[in-house]
């Protein structure tokens, strides 16, 4: 029983990280109807921004992690948002009126560019991510250990998701995002600048990926330029599982993938850890391609 509880906590913690990444996939899909395959690599860049920025911030704040961590978080989010917006402007915007497949292949190209450009700039060897979350055990019984890590991960993810929900459903820009996701042309007739809304979506999506990268690197502190591939793919599966384009779906999908993965590696074998997400993907595509909370695309007139 206690092992079960332990797995659940670990699963929710990992799942919240996937959920944050999945939200970026699903938002960008909602607005542009394509999968931004470079999203996982923006996540990787976030970890490296954190890696380089954190030691400076920690020494500037006199070693207090509770002050340093939020600063590193904000810097990383701003950095990744800038990267996301730049990618969209340089790589995707010129292809706006081209077939979606063209953009999709470009996204894969951007992904390779970041992965191997990352190896060139940062070097291919893994690096040790600095400690940002003060590690201690909040609950430590004989069977269950709940560390500050898991709790900080889960709480940060919840706060960011609530913030996102507020932005999307309670602000003018958020309403404009939903309007654009419905139809670009009609939205432009309202006076909405489609390009600004798309940029804003990349700001949000990449910012969440940045936060996810710090949380992920705090749990698995070995970082390298290819580290974005698997979390990126799993978060993509999470977005499809929840129903691509649907925010709540992405969060739910992330949790399901995270928990399943933790259970598989805990009870069966950790060799199947990475396979399970793709097995889930195949099952959804076979039985419910629209995802758990997804609806079929409205027929366009």
């Amino acid at each position: 029983m206690s092992e079960f509880l332990q797995q659940v906590i670990n699963g929710i913690s990992l799942g919240s990280i996937y959920a944050l990444i999945a939200l970026g996939y699903t938002m960008i899909y909602g607005i542009l109807r394509f999968i931004n395959f470079a999203h996982g690599d923006v996540f990787m860049v976030g970890a490296f921004i954190g890696y380089f920025v954190a030691p400076h911030v920690i020494s500037l704040t006199g070693g207090s992690l509770w002050i340093a961590a939020p600063i590193v978080l904000i810097v990383t989010m701003v950095g990744c948002s800038a990267l996301g917006v730049t990618i969209e402007k340089l790589a995707y915007r010129p292809l706006r009126s081209r077939p979606k497949l063209t953009v999709l292949i470009t996204a894969i190209g951007v992904s390779f560019f970041l992965e191997y450009g990352g190896q060139l700039v940062f070097g291919p060897d893994p690096k040790l991510f600095p400690t940002l979350i003060p590690s201690s055990s909040l609950i430590n019984t004989q069977h269950v250990v709940i560390g500050t890590n898991s709790i900080v991960v889960i709480l940060t993810a919840i706060v960011l998701m609530l913030l996102l929900r507020f932005i999307v459903y309670n602000t003018k820009m958020g309403t404009a995002m939903r309007a654009v996701s419905f139809d670009h042309r009609v939205a432009s007739l309202m006076g909405i600048n489609i390009d600004s809304v798309i940029s804003f979506t990349f700001v949000l999506g990449s910012g969440l990926a940045a936060a996810a990268s710090l949380l992920y690197a705090s749990v698995y502190p070995s970082i390298n330029p290819l580290m974005g591939i698997f979390p990126g793919l799993k978060a993509f599966v999470a977005a499809v599982l929840g129903g691509i384009g649907n925010l709540a779906g992405a969060a739910l999908g992330g949790l399901i993938i995270g928990i399943t993965e933790t259970f598989v590696s805990g009870y069966i074998s950790s060799s199947y850890r990475d396979a399970i997400a793709f097995a889930i993907l195949i099952l959804i595509l076979l039985f419910k391609p629209s995802g758990i909370l997804g609806r079929h695309d409205r027929d366009k007139v």
């Binding site: 419905f182 309202m190 409205r298």
Partner: protein, 242 residues
């Protein structure tokens, strides 16, 4: 009816093509400030194309569109809205995933005068009480007629100088059509909004318009005060089915 003689919209030798097919073949028209001007014609005559060209949804091949002193030819749609043009497109096209209130708020997207926006929201609800009952419902759950009201209301929310209405009678019952046309007259009289109305229902359109144009396969074949157009032999036969 106060009729100012200055013109709000001037379209000169406008040519629009879809690929190799000419949709508008060099038409010119003018909409005077404070008037309701209607463009009648059969399906495929190019009426909707004209409105799309004015609001920037499609590119103009040649010719000129100006609003007052400003040349708005081929500007992006969101900038044209900024000049005071609001377009209620054909087939309603309301945001199905937004509530009625959010749809109307999006109509006022560029406005910064939030008090006046709130006032205009009340006015839309006064004109269309049905919308007020459905204020928190998603646009996609409304009936066809309600969606049409919402489309007209949403276009009004921009408080435009020029309102472009594309087939407001399309696909709704006769009683509702009457109500919406009555509202169009009210908007024009009480708010002084200039309206360019594209309609297949020539009978109704000519009844409320001050001036009319007849469009046939991309050319304007007739224009004049709507009372004259309504009496024209050709129009009576072709469009008023008499």
């Amino acid at each position: 009816m106060s009729q100012l003689s200055e013109s709000m919209l001037e379209v000169t030798s406008l040519e629009v093509k879809y690929g190799a097919i000419a949709a508008l073949r060099g038409i010119s028209l003018s909409v005077k400030t404070g008037q309701i001007v209607t463009m009648i014609g059969a399906n495929g005559a190019g009426k909707s194309t004209l409105l799309r060209a004015i609001s920037g949804l499609i590119r103009v091949c040649s010719g000129n569109i100006s609003l007052g002193d400003a040349d708005i030819t081929n500007l992006p749609p969101h900038r044209i809205v900024g000049f005071g043009v609001s377009h209620a497109p054909e087939g309603r096209m309301i945001f199905a995933n937004l509530t009625v209130r959010e749809n109307l708020e999006m109509g006022a997207y560029l406005r910064r005068d939030s008090d006046a926006v709130a006032g205009d929201l009340d006015r839309v609800f006064l004109l269309f009480p049905r919308l007020k009952e459905r204020i928190n419902q998603q646009g996609g759950t409304l009936s066809g007629g309600e969606q049409q009201m919402l489309a007209v209301g949403r276009a009004m929310m921009a408080r435009p100088k020029l309102l472009l209405l594309d087939e407001p009678s399309l696909g709704i019952g006769p009683i509702l059509v009457k109500a919406i046309f009555q509202t169009i007259v009210e908007i024009n009289r009480e708010l002084g909004m200039t309206i360019l109305l594209v309609e297949q229902n020539a009978h109704l359109a000519l009844k409320i318009a001050h001036y009319g144009y007849v469009l046939e396969t991309g050319n304007i074949i007739l224009e004049g005060p709507s009372s004259e157009i309504a009496c024209n032999e050709l129009v009576r036969k072709a469009y008023l089915s008499e």
